[in-house]
Assembly symmetry: C2
Homo-oligomer: 342 residues x 2
């Protein structure tokens, strides 16, 4: 594992602060759905549904034609982008593109940061969640959805230690030095959506179609999005100009690289408190082995353990932490060094 030394330039920090006061010059705000397929259901029994309490049930026929497994992509295009390629932001599991928008504490998130830094920004909702919609189960999605609990998020996202979650927000104690705005934890939780354990292949297919539609591009992925991003780059190494994986929960097997990604710089970023989480201690090695394989191929795979770079206190949702702009600025500098800005 190679550690990349990093010093945040004072000049760059000042530039960002000044830019924050200026309006953005925006060519278009919009969205589209991409991918998916037509499905027809037949032979299912009609169901009696009560539409209004107290009124007679109405027969509902679930059979018919549908569109399923598409994904949603919202975009903000600048009049004069300074980045060479659009920037795609791919969220993690049980979440949507809201991950990248305004932070739960009401402050601007990475969507605004990277717009201000001069990128056209595409924020998507993957198959099964948010504005991508979801399909009837078990007829189309083959399993039932899973609903993350607050306790799971509190612990799995390394906001508090295992066992420290309390229903009463006032009684919750975060990990020492934790930079997540814990007063906004319940607000953050409103961003959560149900997830399925059986839609990975459909999701990868839709992401690959997205890459074909709007890339060349740079992609920032988070958590569950890591695997989708790594695989998207393997599928279209000519289209993905850089991949930045924030705490990827998995990675392809090292032998998958096959020398195809020498021209696709990768950056993998990890926050703090990994050594206190059995979950993440188990998840980190896959991306380590994958980064090693990329470098063995002669490619670029930079690995940032933030505490070793002097940046402490970040959990899994680091794009929402109090120092989120600092980390975004580090990534922005990396992108500039890789020749991704004009």
């Amino acid at each position: 594992m190679r550690i990349v030394a990093f010093v945040l330039g004072i000049g760059a920090a000042l530039t960002t602060t000044v830019a924050a006061a200026q309006p953005l010059s925006v060519a278009e705000v919009g969205s589209f759905h991409v991918g998916g397929r037509a499905v027809s259901l037949s032979g299912l029994p009609t169901r009696d549904v009560v539409f209004t309490a107290g009124s007679a049930p109405i027969k509902v026929d679930p059979n018919g034609d549908f569109e399923v497994e598409q994904m949603y992509v919202g975009f903000t295009k600048l009049a004069q982008p300074k980045a060479r390629y659009p920037l795609l932001l791919w969220h993690g599991g049980g979440l949507t593109g809201v991950t990248w928008e305004t932070k739960p504490d009401g402050k601007p998130g990475w969507q605004m940061f990277f717009l201000r830094a001069g990128h056209d920004v595409y924020v998507s909702d993957a198959v099964e969640r948010g504005r991508a919609s979801w399909a009837r189960y078990p007829e189309i999605f083959t399993s039932e959805p899973l609903f993350r609990t607050k306790k799971q998020a509190w612990e799995d996202f390394r906001i508090g230690a295992v066992g420290s979650y309390k229903l009463n927000a006032a009684e919750r104690v975060a990990l020492p030095g934790q930079l997540f705005p814990i007063e906004a934890f319940d607000q953050f939780f409103k961003q959560g959506v149900p997830r399925w354990a059986t839609t990975d292949a459909q999701t990868q297919t839709a992401y690959n179609e997205l890459v074909q539609k709007i890339c060349p591009c740079v992609i920032i992925v988070h958590s569950q999005g890591g695997n989708f991003g790594f695989n998207a780059a393997l599928t279209a190494p000519d289209k993905v100009k850089a991949l930045i994986a924030i705490e990827p929960s998995g990675a392809p097997k090292p032998e998958a690289t096959g020398g195809k990604l020498k021209g696709v710089p990768h950056l993998i970023v990890w926050g703090d408190f990994i050594d206190q989480s059995d979950l993440w201690k188990r998840f980190v090695p896959a991306s380590q082995r994958y980064a090693d394989a990329l470098r063995a191929d002669g490619g670029v795979a930079d690995w940032w353990g933030l505490p070793k770079l002097g940046v402490s206190g970040n959990g899994h949702m680091l794009m929402m932490d109090r120092n989120s702009d600092q980390i975004a600025q580090m990534i922005q500098k990396w992108m500039a060094e890789k020749g991704l800005m004009r």
Copy 2:
């Protein structure tokens, strides 16, 4: 029923065309969740879930603490809005805020139109759908979700006559003069989301909280959003400066107005082909009676049957039709006449 005569000014149309080429000066793009409540589930049995095909099932405990019944609101704030109040866009049933974004044929929708016209625009996803998320049923939402079929959308949205829907897109024949881009019908259908018949009260509560959070404002509602909008204005007549209801599928009882809305101008807009749809012939009278009651109170309730104003060919999704800008421009002119622009 009073018909309001309308002539589209050539000058206004030219202004819009010129403005379309200019970038927007945007202060902030962002989002938030509003409303909802904490819910704790207990006593439910654990379930065996297979996460990866072929691997052993893992026990999943559905009990725990959740946030439910919140709604999602995305916003684009201009550096120098020309409108006095922000503009809120509320979608219809089985849909999300995507209704107002880029149209299924890839052309800009009403979100962009009203941004260019100088409004801060808030596009929301109501409770149960899109980025608002949805809650476990039947434990929290008390019924099962409903999935609209393509046939239902094709017929109920007055794109084609009852009986004219075909699975094969090439065989679909629209109503004569229909302005929906039928080549993009399947693309439109990807915007659909499951709906519940039992979440109206929770949805109204969240909309009312939204109004308290960000109004004074002007609200444009569509279809199922009509009732939510009418009731939001009744609940906060000091906060809602105008209500524009596009094909509202219902309205409060006339006696509900209670003289409270004299200062809140209402505009109700209906498209074409109503007389060919038993569904809409049944739905129109509620908003007619409600508009009559508003006027009897001494308030403003303008009623536009678009064909009588010389605008033909619009179905239920008129904000996606080929002449969507024309209708938006008529509404923009109405807002200006009502003193809602600076």
